[in-house]
Symmetry: C2
Subunit: 444 residues, 2 copies
């Protein structure tokens, strides 16, 4: 479990004044990492750290060779066009770099004048996915989501008997992961509508978002090696937001017996900033299960998990439609949930993933699965909110939705807050649905 | 569809005499590609082409700058430590390089003396996976396998209604793919034996092989772009053998609702040599379905598919046990099948994979799914051969097997043959099962 250190000092303020605003996602206590360049500049991508509404250019900072000790090679790794090598250095290296950056960015830093030229406004940059994702694994850790979806897909058997024992997951598609800001065409797929006599090709009519937490792996593991639960978080670099777009009509037709395939591999969107577990340390929460539920098998259970294995991370989905934007109607909050309610923790995901010897590589990405809470307005997908399309959701401005329509823009947000500590934000994960391309006719 | 060209001339012979033997896997008409180095040398890996029992070192050949035209950059790409860039050049570049290599290796080549020093015996090299596999997708294209497995997992509902319409697939794990020669420990996992009252941790008792064809992607595609069936094979670099190791007891407990996960991600073994579609052109076969079966949807059907979409590729599984090797008992042939019997073709896999816009990258790998034929001795897995463990298979030497035991070595073979043409082999895919590591106690 990460331990609180000086970078959490709630009294710390930065010479970057927007970092000191009470609702800032990126105060000096956060210092998350991303890969960026100036929008449309043709510059090389390189690492950056967020501070207030700016990015501190770590490629340029590396050129100044400002740090000594283990922060120096960590900074060097951040100058690369992807952060895999930095993530591979492990939590100590990232911690050393965050401590050095915290010193350099604090209000009384002697370097303030010197470093101001290395700041780029966030509104003037574009991002890429922080790591080259070797493998992407999507878990299914919210029992509230599993139950709600199970009721729709298998009314007689909503929660399968393995759910409470196995951290269920499937391998996802790495090639189609894109950073926030993505626009993608509504996918075409095979569907089998209830009234039809044979499957047919169609643009999906049941396009959905899924509100997830992304987990980037730091230090990798060797093939054949198990990671014990107690060591699991030492292999985690940090968290982001993740939208696992899903075509529900394609999914229900294709998913048996091997799981979702084309229904989910057309696009996955992640927020650009990766927030380290160290920055989230003040927001750890006990991990527990309701009375009467089975304890996890021993390889997924220990005292540290029960003391602070969960993360008190607020999550929200916001939606605006093309018509709302044209009419100046502000986005609607569709739902809110908390990662604390997850049935499985981040450490349990890592320990289970490596149980049979599967190796992890730095920059691998886990999705948590849709994070839905116990209440009706805590559902992390439209499938749940609309009860499988039966109960349209009313939007401000007069429209309603069962599933997403063209022009819809979905924004995920996430943040931690706790009295006595500075708020830590994950930023935003935004993407927009474009119309489907024309259906293929015959085999062309 | 690939067209026959001069590299197929059955009269061609090589100055590498072992390439001219009638049962050679790698005659001059084959010229498959791999990545290799001298065993234990610490040399850089680089591309090689197989000829007879040797590897022609393409890194060293590139140093001589022997070719002109599009063969030259293709050869340059083969000097790299992975073949992704070469694969990305597309079939024309690979064809130009194969034509130039064919000229250089033919019996009357003036370069024979010059090139002999660039040959390395295959017994003296080690391989790595030919490409850095960005994403690995495993299909399920044998209806005979799907039926046999379905009868065991779902006796009341063996073939799901989507099977005949959707080329079913799931995303697999790229990080644990290893080349032939792999040794791996029997995986530990969660299982729920029939007599138990709760799941438990155990080394798998139902470890199985799966006989598959691997498909390496050549030229990639853009996110959001569909590949029509007619263009699908232009995105395929070539074929290899693939063993999709499976822990059946883990699989049956974990696989619902999202498909196999730890039951298959602990190891996947591929043969080192990738045989181009061009080399396989003489062995194309009509693609058809039995009378009365539904035609594929139009995006998966065209005249070229029906004329020659299948590949007449013989496949075999051989097994030897530690006791058989100690006693000098030769390996046993467990089964034989033919890729021609697949319900879905290579082109259909590519067209379906990109239907919703999912992008492919050069070096991506598809598995065909277990290739079982219609007869009982054509089953590509022990699960099928032993009827789910109910009917042990007798081995020469007196042992019997339901599933794999420690020390068992599995060898896949594949080759094409046809009167009037030179036999083309895929080589071998071999791996050995080691004992499981100790079970974790509690959370350590």
């Amino acid at each position: 479990m990460a331990v609180l250190n000086a970078t959490h000092d709630p009294g710390l303020r930065s010479w970057v004044s927007t970092a000191n605003l009470p609702d800032a996602d990126f105060p000096i206590q956060n210092l998350p990492f991303a890969v960026f360049r100036r929008t449309g500049s043709g510059e090389s991508f390189r690492g950056g750290v967020a501070i207030g509404d700016c990015v501190l250019d770590l490629g340029a900072l590396h050129g100044l060779d400002p740090f000594r000790g283990s922060a120096a090679p960590a900074l060097g790794a951040c100058a690369a066009p992807r952060l895999n090598a930095f993530m591979a250095l492990g939590e100590e290296a990232a911690g050393a770099l965050r401590a050095a950056l915290s010193q350099a960015l604090r209000a009384d830093s002697p370097d303030a004048q010197h470093l101001r030229s290395l700041l780029v406004p966030q509104h003037a940059v574009e991002y890429r996915v922080a790591a080259d994702v070797g493998d992407y694994t999507d878990f299914y850790t919210s029992i509230h989501h599993a139950l709600a979806v199970g009721r729709l897909f298998r009314p007689d058997n909503p929660l399968l008997p393995n759910y409470k024992w196995v951290p269920i997951a499937y391998h996802g598609r790495a090639s189609s992961i894109r950073p926030s800001g993505q626009e993608f065409a509504r996918p075409v797929g095979q569907v089998f509508p209830p009234a039809a006599t044979a499957p047919q090709l169609a643009a999906t009519r049941r396009l959905d978002y899924e509100l997830e937490v992304g987990v980037f792996i730091g230090r990798g593991t060797e093939l054949g090696t198990r990671v014990p639960l107690a060591a699991a978080e030492s292999h985690v670099f940090g968290l982001c937001l993740l939208n696992d777009w899903s075509a529900r009509d394609v999914q229900s037709w294709e998913y048996q017996p091997l799981g979702p395939f084309l229904s989910k591999n057309f696009a996955t969107t992640v927020s650009p900033w990766v927030v380290t577990l160290e920055a989230l340390a003040p927001f750890r929460a006990p991990w527990s299960r309701p009375a009467g539920e089975p304890a996890p098998l021993p390889y997924l259970d220990d005292a540290a998990l029960r003391a602070g294995g969960a993360i008190d991370l607020n999550l929200e989905v916001w939606l605006d439609t093309a018509r709302m934007r044209a009419a100046g109607v502000p986005p609607a909050r569709m739902s809110h949930s908390n990662f604390r309610d997850s049935w499985w923790s981040v450490a349990q995901m890592v320990a289970h993933h490596t149980l049979g010897g599967c190796n992890l590589r730095a920059g691998d990405l886990f999705g948590s699965g849709t994070q839905s809470g116990p209440a009706a307005d805590q559902a992390g997908s439209l499938l749940e909110l609309s009860a499988g399309g039966q109960r349209p959701v009313r939007l401000p401005g007069g429209e309603q939705r069962t599933f997403l329509e063209d022009g819809d823009r979905v924004r995920l947000r996430g943040w931690c807050e706790r009295p006595g500590y500075v708020r830590i934000g994950l930023g935003e994960c935004v993407a927009t649905v474009l119309p489907a391309s024309a259906l293929p006719d015959a085999a062309t």
